[in-house]
């Protein structure tokens, strides 16, 4: 019989790489945990207001998403509720960030309450047919901190959980995107003519947005050379398919930078910039804790 330690070595190793609870804490890690939390908190507040203000101009529902599939979300339209909801989310996130549970019972639920209200805000905003994915990483990041507050009394462990949670779902999300493409089209997905279609589609979007469009030299290069367009798509597909490598410390930063490159490629070829996702990838794509420890070492602790 194979010992349990051997059977579970793969997963034990994965948990170790994702969360590293047994590693000594350091100043760099403390600063980075709060920095990442501040980014997720700030981005969530920004989304709450961005979506809330836009929802004021919506009066009809084309496609229900999220909560709107189960409740009549029209109560959020034609009134100031999206703005009140944005205020509520802002307040809850500030309370969560300030660790209000020291003074208020149920204070640890602040982030989770904000998460649920943000899901409502999303459901009210995205009823016009668009199914965006630019905010999913931030949403999962907020969920990670919300669960950390509820599941971990120890805040050092909670912060490590939240960061590992984000790495896990970044890896899973991009890898599942590659799986969707391969299931739908196989390796022919990377045919450069498909990029030609998307470049033209986004050019029409730009005409709709600003009234005119001028293709950049990268787009022109891809349109002029099928093989260059194919190379762009192949790089994107391979990067997504290997994104699960962010789960492991040894390959994490290379994989994160490949994902960053993927987003830059999407930006220059299709003029789509998932700004919040890119900022998050930059935050998680460098060993900031180790850099801080190296630059500002804590007495008595080795740089991590």
């Amino acid at each position: 019989m194979i010992p349990r330690s051997r059977q579970w070595h793969f997963f034990d190793s994965l948990w170790h790489h994702l969360f590293g609870f047994e590693r000594p804490d350091s100043r760099g890690q403390r600063i980075f945990r709060r920095l990442f939390e501040a980014f997720i908190a700030g981005a969530s507040v920004w989304l709450a207001w961005y979506w809330g203000r836009y929802t004021l101009r919506i009066s009809d529902i084309v496609l229900e998403l999220g909560f709107a599939r189960y409740i009549d979300i029209s109560f959020m339209h034609g009134n100031a509720l999206p703005i009140w909801n944005a205020w509520a989310i802002t307040g809850l996130i500030i309370l969560g960030f300030l660790r209000i549970d020291r003074w208020i019972p149920l204070g640890r639920w602040a982030y989770m309450a904000a998460m649920l209200l943000l899901m409502l805000q999303y459901a009210a905003r995205f009823v016009l047919g668009e199914i965006p994915h630019s905010s999913n990483l931030v949403g999962m990041g907020l969920m990670g901190f919300a669960l950390a507050e509820l599941q971990f009394k120890d805040r050092v462990a909670g912060g490590r959980f939240a960061i590992g949670f984000s790495y896990f779902f970044i890896g899973l999300g991009y890898t599942s995107a590659a799986a969707s493409k391969l299931i739908a089209r196989g390796f022919a997905w990377a045919d450069g003519r498909h990029l030609w279609m998307w470049i033209n589609e986004k050019a029409v979007d730009e005409v709709a947005r600003s009234g005119s469009v001028e293709l950049n030299w990268v787009q022109q290069l891809a349109l002029d050379h099928w093989w260059i367009a194919t190379a762009f798509l192949a790089f994107g597909l391979i990067t997504e398919a290997l994104a699960w490598l962010v789960w492991y410390r040894g390959t994490r930063y290379v994989a994160m930078w490949a994902v960053f490159g993927l987003h830059m490629g999407i930006w220059v070829t299709m003029d789509i910039l998932f700004a919040l996702s890119v900022y998050e990838i930059l935050l998680l794509g460098l060993p900031w804790a180790a850099i801080i420890d190296r630059l500002w070492p804590e007495k008595g602790l080795a740089a991590n």
Binding site: R57, S180, D205
Partner: protein, 164 residues
């Protein structure tokens, strides 16, 4: 290898979220923000549909026939000037199955809630594209509806083919 007690907690929580994730995307067509299976761009090479807007004048004679994108008449109008996301416009136009009074009014509100000038009259076109056998991309524009700050929303301003 004995697991750190926090690892047990993290593992249980993560697996719980994974189960909820899988269930919610399974019963909600792959989308339940922030859960998603990220299917965007998977349907490579399929025909696509977007929308553009042209500014028209009351005295313009309007044709409801489809025409090549390059031949669309009128002054180009960027929806950004009215605070509108063009993806919303494109989806609103392509995913509306029945164009009734409410839908025309909703489109009018979306485009004219914050007009950059008044009076303003806009023709909304649906643009459709497909890859031809000659590896070129054919794009045609179909006039859908006219909305205006001086024009009460009405189905009579729809392309006759879309009128209920």
């Amino acid at each position: 290898m004995s697991l750190n007690p926090h690892t047990n907690n993290a593992r249980t929580t993560l697996l719980g979220v994974l189960i909820v994730y899988a269930l919610t995307v399974a019963i909600n067509l792959g989308e339940f923000w922030p859960f998603s299976i990220y299917p965007m761009f998977s349907q490579a090479g399929n025909p696509w549909s977007r929308a553009i807007v042209r500014e028209v004048q009351p005295e313009d004679s309007l044709s409801w026939n489809a025409l090549p994108l390059a031949d669309v008449p009128g002054q180009p109008y960027g929806v950004r000037s009215g605070g509108v996301d063009p993806i919303d416009l494109a989806n609103f136009v392509s995913k509306t199955a029945i164009w009734n009074q409410d839908r025309v009014a909703a489109l009018s509100l979306m485009l004219l809630a914050d007009p950059p000038k008044e009076p303003l009259r806009l023709m909304v076109y649906r643009v459709q594209a497909r890859l031809t056998e000659q590896d070129s991309i054919a794009m045609t524009a179909m006039p859908y509806v006219v909305v205006g700050t001086d024009l009460p929303p009405d189905t009579k301003h729809l392309n006759p083919e879309l009128r209920p």
